[in-house]
């Protein structure tokens, strides 16, 4: 479920925006996105010489020592150098490994991982999941590589998007103001709120009023969950104008049979799973409308659904 990172297109990207993208990535990316996996491990009964060969073969600088699913310690390249220097390279790992190893969780953000590196001064961390299973190893180099890779990818996407946007809507500068363009996958309940979270961040960076921020975030959140619960997948774009935030949600179907019915509070077609997770209150569309200054919805049985919302930066719509 390690989702492909959503596409962000900072179309009118000046230098200041590029720094922001890097900063955003550090918060958005998780340890599991950057770590080396699966972890290369050794047994407590392996000799340091065997571990040295393992390091050489895999070009790594640290090897967690594991028995079954239990993490016992770690042998690092520094331990190997010391062993060569002092002549105990044939000792077993269990005798020379560092014990009481400090691990890092796979769901931590990279910014938190960087803080952990600073705090402990280690060169690497074994990475464990929420069930304490060893799932990878993270070095500072892994973080740098992951960030560079993502930045490159987003830069390419931004360029491609800009070219396409300019070609298709020459003269329309809406495309230039798009700050988020993200795919939303059907059934991906764990990702609900990702677009909304990014939107809040973008609006905060621009110093936009908390009430406007909250209303726009609610529209985005409900749009996301609607696509996840009801559609076969779709996309959300957000543009920030000098006087409004524009949120457009589109999906590939199957469409809303009766839009008027769907706009009634409490009416929902959500199934059992989404309801158990607290979705499907039948309030999504009404909430979006209440939070918007302009709200339009176009749909029909077997068609795509288009939801267009505008939240004005100055005049307040609802009181949410």
């Amino acid at each position: 479920m390690n989702a492909a990172p959503p596409i962000d297109s900072m179309v009118s990207a000046g230098d200041a925006r590029k720094i922001t993208i890097a900063q955003v990535l550090v918060y958005e990316l998780r340890v599991r996105d950057a770590m080396s996996k699966p972890p290369i491990t050794a047994l407590p009964g392996d000799s340091l010489r065997e571990i040295q060969k393992l390091m050489k073969r895999h070009k790594i600088s640290g090897v967690p020592i594991q028995l079954g699913t239990k993490l016992l310690g770690i042998v690092t390249i520094e331990d190997i150098i010391t062993a060569l220097d002092q002549g105990h390279i044939d000792d077993l790992a269990e005798k020379r490994m560092a014990q009481g190893v400090i691990t890092i969780r796979d769901h931590f953000s990279l910014v938190r991982a960087v803080a952990e590196f600073e705090r402990h001064g280690f060169g690497r961390f074994p990475v464990v999941d929420s069930a304490d299973r060893l799932v990878g190893v993270l070095t500072r180099g892994d973080i740098t590589n992951c960030l560079m890779h993502q930045l490159e990818k987003r830069a390419e996407e931004a360029i491609a998007f800009e070219a396409a946007a300019l070609a298709s809507r020459a003269g329309d500068d809406l495309a230039r103001r798009i700050v988020i363009r993200a795919p939303v996958r059907t059934g991906d309940y764990d990702s609900a709120g990702k677009v909304s979270q990014r939107l809040r961040q973008v609006l905060r960076e621009r110093g936009i009023d908390p009430d406007v921020r909250r209303r726009a975030a609610i529209v985005a959140y409900e749009a996301e969950t609607n696509i996840i619960i009801h559609s076969l997948g779709g996309e959300i774009t957000v543009a920030v104008d000098s006087d409004k935030v524009v949120i457009d949600a589109t999906d590939v179907g199957p469409g809303i049979e009766d839009v008027n019915q769907a706009m009634q509070e409490g009416w929902s077609t959500a199934g059992r799973l989404p309801r158990e997770l607290g979705f499907g209150a039948g309030m999504g569309l009404p909430n979006m409308k209440k939070c918007s200054d302009v709200f339009e919805i176009k749909s029909g049985n077997g068609q795509t659904t288009l939801v267009h919302s505008e939240v004005f930066l100055r005049k307040a719509a609802g009181t949410l």
Partner: protein, 116 residues
Amino acid sequence: MKLETNAQLPAVLLAIQATPLTNTSEANIQGCYISDLLSDVLAHAQPGMLWATVQVHRNVVSVAATKDIPAVIFTCGRKPEASVIAEAEEEGITLLVTPLTTYEAAGKLWQAGLHE
């Protein structure tokens, strides 16, 4: 009500036997909203409220963050996964758990003066 989970819990939360799950520093709480429906919370809760729910899915954190809700209390002793707690910490949202049912917790919170 000032909530400092690292220090002593305010009397209002002691009344419902609340235990903090996060290491969030502090939060100012005014009033409380109770619902297990996420959209309902988005529509009717006010920023700054304590939110009581039995939902422990990660979307609770997303909704709380979207709505500027500083603290969530899980009732009936329900605890979220470690990843949800970590996410709340990153968002600066305090998570608490109480063994009481939502009804009992609501009654005691009201009695202890959270509505004022």
